[in-house]
Amino acid sequence: RHEEDGSFFIQTLVDVFTNNKGHILDLLTEVTQRMAAADLIEGGKPRKVNPEVQSTLRKLLYLR
């Protein structure tokens, strides 16, 4: 977690959910794509991180 910028996951999710419209699973795919594409450095070593989505939604959940 960055001291000033916050956590990578929350910041990415907020950006995607705020600036895009659509079904939440599509938006979460965008979150995963962005996080997977990013190269993080921790203690001089490259790191990768991605969220995991488990869904039991029965219908489309639109955020707008």
Binding site: L13, F17, T18, A36, K45, N50
Partner: protein, 184 residues
């Protein structure tokens, strides 16, 4: 309501989002630099999405349970129906558990179960979104190098760092039943 919203809210394949949209953020900020930045960002997101947001900070393990219970009980008393709720949990954690500021642990499943169709009448059949910002272990993923063919045919010069993927992407988890239940 715009014609687009009207069209979507009457769509049988979509959840009705025309009633109250509620959000609860339970966050331990102690020893978690950057937490306030996350809370601020979430508040702006909720405002943009039309959610009523409540934030509670620095909770004991029992405090997580009590605040979620209060959130659920308040929903039951609301005159207007609830369409959807978001619950954001932010704390130090390990697989399946969160750590309270008292050093005690609370199982995530205990929190999730409080809003099931069985335990929350107000949210029965309504979408409940849990967002968990917490560690699930101590492993660190260095990633795996993407082969040129998988990167769209790009050829990497020897001086360039080849692109990497996280180890666990492109997997679809499809279980016959939820954890703890029999599968038929």
């Amino acid at each position: 309501m715009s014609s687009e919203e009207s069209e979507q809210s009457t769509d049988l394949d979509a959840y009705d989002m025309s009633h109250a949209l509620l959000a609860l953020t339970l966050c331990n900020t102690k020893d978690r630099a950057g937490s306030e930045t996350d809370i601020k960002a979430l508040e702006q997101m909720y405002k943009a999405l039309g959610f009523q947001s409540t934030v509670k900070r620095n909770l004991t393990a029992k405090g997580f349970q009590e605040e979620l219970e209060k959130f659920r009980d308040d929903m039951e008393k609301m005159e207007d129906p609830v369409s959807c709720c978001f619950v954001v949990l932010m704390a130090h954690g390990e697989e399946g558990i969160l750590l309270g500021v008292d050093g005690k642990t609370i199982m995530l499943e205990e929190l999730f179960s409080m809003l099931t169709n069985k335990n929350s009448l107000a949210l029965r059949g309504k979408p409940k979104v849990f967002i968990v910002q917490a560690c699930r272990g101590e492993q660190k993923d260095p990633g795996e190098v993407v082969r040129p063919a998988e990167s769209g045919g790009n050829v990497f010069l020897s001086s360039e760092q080849p692109p990497k993927l996280p180890t666990y992407t492109d997997i679809l988890h499809v279980f016959a039943t939820v954890e703890g239940y029999i599968a038929y």
